[in-house]
Symmetry: C2
Subunit: 474 residues, 2 copies
């Protein structure tokens, strides 16, 4: 997990006399197959998100996007008639475009290309497989999406009609009929995958989430098998909040297990009042196991679970220090952190990359959950919310997750909508921006220039009798 980078493996060298070499560590092409509205695109995007989270470099090439590049605007289902030669050819070209971009993606040193396609016939699957496997030497995995459940299909249709670019602006009834006819065209030629085809394949029933895997091996492919089981295609909404302002926040200290400040307690009350008034059905609350999140969630009327994976990024030897103290005691570490906040790990502590891994069990839970409120900490919520918003790892450490604010995300197809609900309780600002000078030889002033204002308890031995004073760097 240290290097978040593409690792292109060197081509296999086979001495004379040794036949076709294995390419166990070559790139992987994942190809979705199945009728429209079976959840392929959503699975593809969920997979890419999770693979990227785990250090792969994955990208979805969606054939319908390439088709729209070649032909816009979308006219009607006629485009999908299997007996219309020109349209069949056009769609084949779009698929070729997507396949070529998959190949370019892997040739550039990335590790996983996801071809979001229908490839509903055996012939199409053989063609795609042979292009990537026999011609280019990549490993291929098919993910077949099946669904015969009327209720699930109805829900999928609604999501497509709401979010597909093809139907933007089209009359609702006309769009629904068009989608029906489009699927009917595909059904005429559809051949479900068959073991006899002999390709590595995972079949997902997207209604029951029953999963079947044949000939699946390799690290990426077996990971994908697990990832597929933790996807849900149902629309869902999640809520997040940082703990209320803590006594350490007030003093500008990081880490620790401080209790809430008076203002933090007021936020806890406001949060409970707000959430309780929303009457969210079957709400579940997850908090960290630190006092400030448990206290923040205390008044919320819902089942609560305290999860260590939600504890704040652990700052090791710097736990409980202010930035000023960190600069004084560990100037080298402080500079290193500024140079690469994502990968920097506190001595005996964690990095953002470490916490990305640590919160994964919670992410897996949230992927399949609806109406959960997570009360946690700045770094941890950056990771979790960043996951659903497809942030790159580099963006995570600088995401805005303000105190005293409810954050709501709601699925929209395979994307998420983000909303901030500020509760209007005053608090300190805890966000230290990246300073311009990150060199280890910088002055203390340069290192501390972006530290937000906070209070300071003066050293009682040096200044007996004085109270807290406001520290502001400039």
């Amino acid at each position: 997990m240290c290097h978040i980078e593409a690792t292109q493996e060197k081509a296999v060298r086979a001495p004379a006399g040794v036949s076709k070499p294995p390419r166990k560590f070559a790139g992987v092409v994942i190809i979705t197959t199945g009728l429209p509205a079976r959840g392929k695109s959503q699975l593809a995007h969920s997979l890419a998100r999770r693979l990227n989270w785990n250090g792969e470099s994955a990208k979805v090439m969606r054939v319908s996007d390439y088709r729209r590049k070649r032909l816009e605007p979308y006219a009607s289902h006629e485009l999908f008639r299997p007996d219309h030669e020109a349209n069949v050819a056009l769609r084949a070209l779009a698929q070729r475009d997507a396949m070529q971009d998959c190949a370019t993606w892997l040739a550039s040193g990335n590790t996983v290309a996801i071809l979001d396609a229908t490839v509903v016939t055996r012939e199409q699957r053989t063609e795609v497989h042979d292009y990537f496997s026999a011609q280019l030497g990549y490993r291929v995995l098919f993910v077949e999406c099946v669904c015969e459940d009327g209720k699930t299909l109805e829900s999928n249709y609604r999501e497509i009609l709401r979010h597909s670019l093809d139907y933007a602006g089209m009359d609702a009834a006309k769009a629904a009929e068009d989608l029906r006819l489009k699927i009917a065209h595909y059904q005429k030629t559809h051949q479900p995958m068959d073991e006899a085809e002999g390709y590595p394949c995972i079949r997902v029933n997207t209604a029951t989430m029953e999963i079947r895997a044949c000939k699946v091996n390799g690290h990426v492919e077996t990971s994908v098998l697990g990832y597929l089981a933790s996807v849900s295609l149902k629309p869902h909404t999640l809520y997040f909040s940082r703990h209320g302002e803590s006594e350490f926040n007030v003093l500008g200290k990081i880490g620790g297990d401080a209790v809430l400040s008076a203002r933090g307690e007021r936020y806890a009350q406001a949060l409970a009042a707000k959430i309780n008034s929303m009457h969210i059905p079957e709400l579940r609350v997850l908090t960290s196991r630190l006092r400030r999140t448990i206290a923040t969630a205390r008044g919320i009327e819902a089942a609560q679970e305290h999860v260590a994976a939600l504890n704040e990024l652990y700052a090791g030897v710097c736990e409980g220090l202010s930035y000023e103290e960190m600069q004084e005691q560990y100037p080298q570490e402080f500079a290193w952190r500024d140079q690469d906040k994502l990968r920097y790990r506190y001595p005996w502590g964690e990095s953002y990359v470490d916490t990305m891994k640590r919160v994964e069990p919670v992410i897996v839970d949230l992927q399949q959950a609806h109406n959960v409120l997570v009360v946690s900490h700045q770094a941890i919520l950056r990771c979790i919310i960043g996951y659903f918003l497809d942030k790159t790892p580099e963006e995570l450490p600088y995401m805005e997750v303000p105190l005293h604010t409810i954050i709501r995300i709601s699925s929209q197809g395979f994307n998420y909508k983000l909303e901030f609900i500020k509760l209007g309780i005053e608090c300190v600002n805890t966000t230290r921006l990246k300073p311009q000078n990150c060199s280890a030889s910088r002055t203390a002033d340069d290192a501390l220039i972006t530290v937000p204002a906070h209070y300071d308890i003066p050293d009682p031995w040096r200044n007996p009798g004085t109270g807290p004073t406001l520290v502001q760097q400039h």
Copy 2:
């Protein structure tokens, strides 16, 4: 990945009026089910190994071990007759013992208990499920092993007759007949798992490795699904070698991309001669992408792949330094590393924990591979070989993996046999033992006391004209 520790989650607190709380982050019990000789124990141990590698704390409780504790020595298949009341009761007690140890394991803060059982009837499965789920509130996952393939079964029988404690010392023909009758007893009551039972279940066909999953969710369970796909039950042998002595080894420097020393080149020749003379069928060679491993494997007649995941642990700012230089330039880091070599990460570099994660794709490949030679580096081979030998993470950084030695591991049931084949080419010792004094305030002499002897190139500006000199700390 920072904390390799059990994280026991706090019990769920449900306010009045809220019904049975969810326990999404409680422990998980994995229960194997199926007839004898279907590969259950091997799957169970492979799962435990992989889960522990990934930061869980998993343990297998094998019902047959508990049965042997209650009744030794094993007499005959009569023990398994379903119509022999006393024997049925005895086996039920053994299963209870194992279940109680599972419960104790989880109650002690561990995360996964694996009950290696047969539970071939619905009634048995219901009883086990209810004990862990309804009574104790843990999450339960069944792993059903099925196999109807005669050839695979014959191979499984042979492995059982060779390694099972029940058959140690028994006449071979008698033992084979006894195993056959034991399985026949189980077949009389066996009810394969049925979706109608409604439990989360993964069914593995251990002949085809076809996998089917129903109602599997949660982070551990979905990970297990992926892990199961990357297990192989076939006996296999793997070979390992560090690169030949490098010019950096001679100088006592760490990391870098040095070429082989003259003695290292001699080892490369000897290695190729030895491996080629062994005529290992379908041998594959994996090396890192550093010059010293590629050069070491150069003469071996087999397909070779150069894999970045096999590169040496990256020492960041300390790459290319000798231990003496590290002590001089980064005494604090040097002491921290000695305090916890497993978790210590070099600034901008890696820790052992990082490399454990990084080599996992290679481990997945090797788990299913036979006759592969891995030519890599000290830290990396410690991790990979340690994985198969069930070393704890804490043991890895101090495992002995000497230069100029072929290491062979061969599966023996679910364990591995380890052999060293020394090729008798002289080389420096590169293993620095943990010094007694690991304090950051220690003297340089104390810090360097365990540095093995190596040559030193004197600073040509200070001592012009002198050649390399042997440095020995004491």
